[in-house]
Symmetry: C2
Subunit: 320 residues, 2 copies
């Protein structure tokens, strides 16, 4: 192994050290990691790519933010199942001329989030690449049969979101317009918070019938719940918690908020806050007549229009 | 999700269908895959990046070979622990202008190998990227406490390899010289065979004290076993099974053979073939005096020289 890789791996091993060896029987240093999943639990696995100039720009995003966001994407997927993250793996493609300081800062942002959620980096791969490419794999667990799926929403269920929507897209829009934004003033974009505690709170109380994380935008992600649950939905525009600085359009179509979108039975008592996070009811699940599901959004006067799943990919291409 | 991605996912789901649902409780279509690891077993996880113009070239490697090699790298890591692969995940970065036919062929090569080893594609991510980037994640299992580690080699153990070495590097060298090579005539490079059956055979009989797969080249990978086992080694040049068309130098420093390198106690009876694969004794493990371990290679006259871990990365850069 070339020296720079060896150094990186040693840095990663230092981050990992100190983690209880209950889960990781063998981490970095062999052909595979060896893990022990708690008896009575199922394993969760998610993978997410972060590609330079697609998911982030070096000009806009400090390296520590890129590292944080890379891991946050995986943790948010574990949250969306009501799971507990155990370990992560990182495959990293790095251009030969990338300054070492960038890589150090990337790992600093990554490791800070990993430590906070006690998710040690347990393996991965490092390679040369034309642009930065980071693939995060997070493994987690959930008590057997208790994962909250996308497919559990039923006609009559209420639709809820955590936090506020559109903040991340609003910052991205301002970055695209050439504004300089200090990351500390826009944490929801640069350092989003995976909603692990709120998701677990909901799962433990059996309150959520279906759940997804808002990575692609409400219009797309609500569509996923409707598709998998074979239902449709109507959303009330006036009740959507639009983040300060964002617009309704950004709250509905902008992605990367990493809030939770979930449904609950009409008689479930959903509090205004769970695990310190605001929860807002935004609409209802309805029986489906069409395929794919046609989701409606009601304006302040009760007038319905179709909520087209424009989604994040399309949205990002538009503002670039 | 944009239409091309949806199509890809649907194709992937078709590949997956038919697999016993024993392991996969939830595959593609939710935020995470949900897996059931067999009680009494530990989980194995490995990730490997394949990057265009680093690990393969579109000019040299047919798309089906790129897909095959991508998965083979992960399966070979599972083999190196004596494990059984369960499922795989693929994160794929694709240039916008890549022909759909390339992607189809990539998946054809990938799916053919996945079907042969019954390793369904269970999740992943697809994104735009400047060059093709494929990160393979393979999850497998091994009976609790039975994984064959890199760290188990002891002074006096014999060193063995499966198959023949240097064939893959010899083909790469010829490709770099501008030769056209029909993939069917050079399967060890274009369609390498992960040694899962031979590895399992060795693990079940408790014959191997340490094991690794030869992905980076003998000089590097034997170094990994020595480092992790805190031993050193001497290898006899004359006994190395050099593949037809290769040289001793390619057999020792060339990578991507995906054969197994393992050690066994001096009294272990290692047959000349296991699970249909040739096995050759090539040297001995010795007590270590130096750090890092200085591995020696003995020529036909018994004269020793130091086997420097040049390895694959360095080697590839040299021939490019």
């Amino acid at each position: 192994m070339p020296q720079p890789e060896r150094k990186l791996i040693e840095r990663v091993q230092r981050i990992t050290r100190g983690r209880a060896a209950k889960v990781i029987l063998r981490g970095i240093g062999d052909d595979c990691a060896i893990l022990r999943v708690t008896p009575g639990h199922h394993l969760l696995v998610t993978t997410d790519l972060s590609i330079e100039d697609v998911h982030f720009r070096r000009k806009w995003h400090p390296a520590a933010s890129v590292g944080h966001r890379c891991l946050a994407r995986g943790l948010s997927d574990i949250a969306a199942m009501g799971g507990e993250p155990l370990v992560c793996f990182l495959s990293l493609g790095l251009p030969a001329r990338l300054p070492q300081k960038w890589v150090d800062e990337f790992f600093r942002g990554f490791a800070r989030l990993a430590r906070r959620f006690r998710v040690p980096l347990t393996g991965g791969d490092i390679s040369a690449a034309p642009k930065i490419a980071a693939d995060i794999v997070v493994a987690g667990q959930v008590p057997a049969g208790k994962a909250v799926l996308r497919s559990g929403a039923r006609s009559g269920d209420r639709i809820y979101v955590t936090g506020e929507l559109g903040a991340s897209a609003a910052i991205l829009k301002r970055l695209a317009e050439g504004q300089r934004i200090p990351p500390a003033a826009a944490r929801s974009h640069f350092y989003p918070e995976p909603r692990l505690a709120a998701a677990r709170w909901l799962r433990e109380r059996k309150l959520a019938t279906a759940m997804i994380d808002l990575s692609d935008g409400l219009s797309v992600d609500l569509g996923h719940i409707c598709d998998e649950s074979r239902v449709t939905a109507s959303v009330s525009a006036g009740s959507i918690p639009v983040a300060s600085g964002a617009t309704l359009d950004l709250a509905v179509h902008g992605g990367e908020d990493y809030e939770l979108l979930f449904t609950a039975g009409p008689r479930a008592r959903i509090p205004a806050r769970a695990a310190g996070v605001k929860i807002t009811e935004i609409g209802r699940i309805q029986a489906r007549k069409d395929y794919p599901a046609v989701i409606r959004i009601l304006d302040e006067n009760g007038k319905a229009r179709i909520l087209r799943p424009q989604g994040w990919e399309h949205f990002r291409q538009r503002i670039r």
